[in-house]
Amino acid sequence: MRDDNTIELRITPPIISSLFDDVEHGVLSPLSCLREFDHHWILEFDLPLVSKKDIKVTFDGNSINVEAKLKEKYSEEKLGKFTKFEYFKKSITLPGKIDSKKTIAKFQNGRLVIKIPKKVMGHHIKIE
C-alpha cells in the first residue's frame, strides 16, 4: 500500500504498549503507529505470530479495534511470574471522523496496515 503522491502530515509513534498488557486475561497490547496524510490515515499494527484468518478489525465511532489470536501461546515473565498470552488486543481512537465503508486493510509479514479515508463533513457556502 504505497502513498507516493500524498504528503505525510503527522506521525504518532507507539505509546507504551507493554504497560497495557492484560496479564490476567493473557492479552498483549501490540505496537502500533498512526500516520496522517491529506485525505486519509494509515494505522499500522505489529502482529507477529498471527495468521490473517485470526485477525478481527471492528469500528466503534472513530475508534478502530483490533483483536488477533496468536498461532501459539507466548510466555513472558511479568511481575515476577510467567504469564501465557493468547491474544493481541488494542483500540485506537482517531483524531477525526472516519469513512469506515472505504477503509481497507492488508496483512503482510505480520504487520496489519489499515488505510482509513477521512470523512469530509462540510457543505457548500453560496457566494452572493
Binding site: 509513534p13 507507539p14 503507529c33 505489529d46 505470530l49 509479514n109 504487520r111
Partner: protein, 201 residues
C-alpha cells in the same frame, strides 16, 4: 566472544544488567582474535552519542584498529522487496573497496540526523575509517529480519561464520520480546527535539 571491558558514558542514566548472576554494564566490549565488538543495551540520544563516539575512538586508537563497522537502520515503511536491503556509507575512501567487494550499494543521497550523524561526524575527523551499514527497517516496530540481513553482511566483511538459523526460527517471538526495547528507544529519541534517524523520506 569474551567480555573484556566496558565503556562508561557520563550523563547516561545509571543502569546495570544481571545475566546468570553476573553484573553487566550497559555498554560492553567483547573480543575474539583480532575482532572487537561494542554492544549497547541502552539507547542514547545524539548528545550522549558524542561522548560515546570519542570514548570508542580513544579505545580504537589505543588498540590500533584498522577499521570500524557500525550497523544502523534506515526507515522503510514501504519496503519494496521481501528481503531488506543494506546500503553502505564510508567516512574514508580507503573503505570504498569493501562496498564493491561485497556488492553493498552505496548510500548516495539523503540526510542523516541524530545519534548516527553525531557518531559519523566524530569519526570522519579521525584517521580511523568507519563503514556504516544501513539496513532497511521499520522505524517503529522491532525488525529482527533487518538485523539478521545486516549481521550476515557484517560476517562476510569480517570473514567470520555466523549461523542465523536458530534466530530465523524465533523471529516472531523476538518481535514480541523487543516491544519494550523499541518503546524505550523511541522515548529516548522523543525526549529531545529530534526524530528517529531516517534517511529517505
Amino acid at each position: 566472544m569474551k567480555n573484556i571491558g566496558e565503556i562508561e558514558v557520563s550523563d547516561l542514566p545509571s543502569s546495570l544488567f544481571v545475566e546468570g548472576g553476573e553484573i553487566l554494564a550497559p555498554i560492553r566490549i567483547y573480543k575474539k582474535n583480532n575482532i572487537f565488538a561494542i554492544i549497547s543495551d541502552v539507547p542514547f540520544d545524539q548528545y550522549l552519542a558524542e561522548d560515546f563516539a570519542h570514548a570508542v575512538h580513544a579505545f580504537c586508537k589505543e588498540n590500533q584498529m584498522k577499521k570500524i563497522v557500525f550497523i544502523s537502520g534506515m526507515e522503510s515503511i514501504n519496503q519494496k522487496k521481501d528481503e531488506p536491503e543494506i546500503f553502505g556509507l564510508v567516512t574514508h575512501k580507503t573503505l570504498e573497496s569493501l562496498l564493491y567487494n561485497y556488492k553493498i550499494p552505496k548510500f548516495l543521497d539523503g540526510s542523516i540526523f541524530g545519534t548516527d550523524a553525531t557518531i559519523i561526524s566524530v569519526f570522519r575527523k579521525t584517521k580511523i575509517p568507519l563503514l556504516v551499514l544501513y539496513a532497511e527497517c521499520h522505524p517503529f516496530f522491532p525488525d529482527p529480519k533487518a538485523s539478521i540481513t545486516a549481521i550476515v553482511i557484517l560476517a562476510k566483511i569480517l570473514n567470520v561464520k555466523v549461523d542465523t538459523s536458530e534466530i530465523q526460527k524465533r523471529l516472531d517471538k523476538i518481535r514480541i520480546q523487543h516491544r519494550n526495547l523499541m518503546e524505550e528507544t523511541l522515548r529516548s529519541l522523543q525526549e529531545k527535539p529530534v526524530k528517529a534517524p531516517q534517511i529517505y523520506r
